[in-house]
Amino acid sequence: MSNVAAHADDRGHAHAHHPALQHHFDTMAQQKEAAVVGMWVFLLTEILFFGGLFAAYMVYRIWYFDAFAEASRSLSLFWGGLNTAVLIGSSLTMAMAVRCAQTNKRTATVNWLILTMILGAVFLGVKVIEYADKFEHHHVPGYNFQWAAAHEAPAAGEHAVAASEGAAAAEGHRELSLTPAQLQLTTQIYFSLYFTMTGLHALHMIIGIGIMLVITRMAYQGKFDQEYYTPVEMAGLYWHFVDIVWIFLFPLLYLVERHV
Amino acid sequence: MKIFGIPIFPEQASTFAADVDALYFFVLATCAFFAIGVAVAVIYFGIRYHKKHDGEIGARIEGSLPLELLWSVIPTIIAMVMFGWGASVFYHLRRPPAEAMHIYAVGKQWMWKFQHLEGQREINELHIPAGRPIKVTISSEDVLHSLFFPAFRTKMDAIPGRYTELWFEAQTPGEYHIFCTEYCGTNHSGMIGTVKVLEPAQYQAWLQGGSMEGTLAQRGAKLFNDLACSTCHLDTGQGRGPSLKDILGKTVDLQDGSSAIVDEGYLRESILNSQAKIVKGFQPLMPTFQGLISEENLVALIEHLKSLSPNATTAAAPATGAAAATPQPAAAAVEKK
């Protein structure tokens, strides 16, 4: 820190000020370091933001383990697993986008960013399918919430398969300590948390895609070079963070107790 | 304890009171020592080292490790003493003895309902014997409340969907406050009552149904609780209904702009057919008790209401039995306003 002024001099001699250097910074390096630390501090707040939800989840999972296990089995492993893969893939493409920005490959950066957004959209699409399924089964908490309906009273033929599967699974269950009335009450807590957690996660992804749209445009316009690609890097950090949240949400929500 | 007749220290009416107060005075003394010590030092330095001329600067003293250690270690030790003492009192407060007498309390917006194992129910009033440990199991019908007995130095939250408990052993017979100390909505401050600590013999008498030997007014008072009148008519005037304290002989303004003087007839009409005259500023919420209250009980009730107005007996007309149940607008209502 002590030789910041000296740095400024060095750079002044080497070449003219980079157009992206803001007046209150001395060097691009200082500006970039500030941005990286700032972003990480922001992610710190995000950790605690989701942390509050995880705390609530933890408490109820301890209290209502059986209901959580029961409710989590009603989620589709296929969609959940697919989404995990999609999101991890999008992390890879995002990392590639940053790498291309670092190495000054403009078109490649744009392409990787677009691919990342597409994968993000796929993830959200799958979430829509899953949410729609919850609506259909009255698994959305609130006044229409119905736990039993999904398993015991399938409305139409198409549900028959699912129902028999459910029944088969039910046979293998260890004995539940909960009555149907208690299940109705406590599975609703699970779904309240499910929707809050996945909803906020999805919201973060939507914001992330929004940010990427802007950044893709900037990249396309050639605003970045190997000296200055901070926005791409910041968007990358954010996107990876969203991925990490999902890495935890997936086992917490989909895999409470699958072995029965 | 009082100064110039103003209470400045709560009564000590339970075994805990002395324990908690002793702790209090210990912490108070320690803290006073530090607060006064700091104040004296600061003021002394302020005078002693007052700047004498322009440009004067203080001595350059950077600090002293021994001092820093001294004044972090000593407070640490004192703090641990406070913690230990406080924790032991707390542990005692949280462990009801097995032989404790058991009472249930239910918090509800905005009243305390107590139930004795013997079957007696009370609202906003609790009779207990002195000299016996008593365990109160607390629950709530709606939101959070907190049952607080300042004279016993104990309180506990009422949590819907869960039971909590507190215990105490009252020592000095007398009447003490019951407060609700967890904010619970509009009439939180009206959710108050009285705990009546009786001598064990008196308590037995009360259990046997004080109403038997009790006066009519006392029986009325009991009915006033049993019929849940007291849920709406709080003395503080904050219930859903008006306060009935000192009401006899008063002129009340009615909803339709007229007014009425309160006598026994008015009271009776108000009870049996409350919709007939709605008091200004209130909703017509009160149920009609026509057919629900026997005559004897009605009399007892009115007697009780009268006893709430000790200074106004002369103003009231004598009860006129059934006749009084019909409205007497011409006689009683005096146009005003």
Partner: protein, 101 residues
């Protein structure tokens, strides 16, 4: 002055590792490990998260300050969850909501 550029092969490796670990979590969930199912799932997830943070998010090459920031986040998350458990962990044995017992 630009940051460290990682080889593409590293990214691919990390990606593959993450996929494998995802399959592993799902697999582990179908094995009855009793109490340990949850632990295994969390350890795998923690490992995955570490890979993402360390390589994709370049913390490996970042300043000490950035590393410290990440550690702070994890530390305070641990305080949050840990001290919640101090209450709920000791309460679970004594007091369940009555409508459940």
């Amino acid at each position: 002055m630009s940051g460290h550029v990682s080889p593409i092969s590293l990214y691919i490796t990390i990606f593959m590792a993450l996929m494998v670990l995802t399959v592993a979590t799902v697999g582990a969930a179908f094995v009855d490990l009793g109490q340990f199912n949850f632990l295994v799932a969390m350890i795998i997830a923690g490992f995955k998260a570490t890979l993402v943070i360390w390589y994709f998010m370049h913390v490996k090459y970042a300043s000490k300050l950035t590393k410290l920031t990440v550690a702070t986040g994890i530390f305070f998350l641990a305080i949050l969850l840990g001290l919640f458990l101090v209450d709920y962990g000791s309460k679970a044995f004594t007091q369940m909501p009555p409508f459940l017992s």
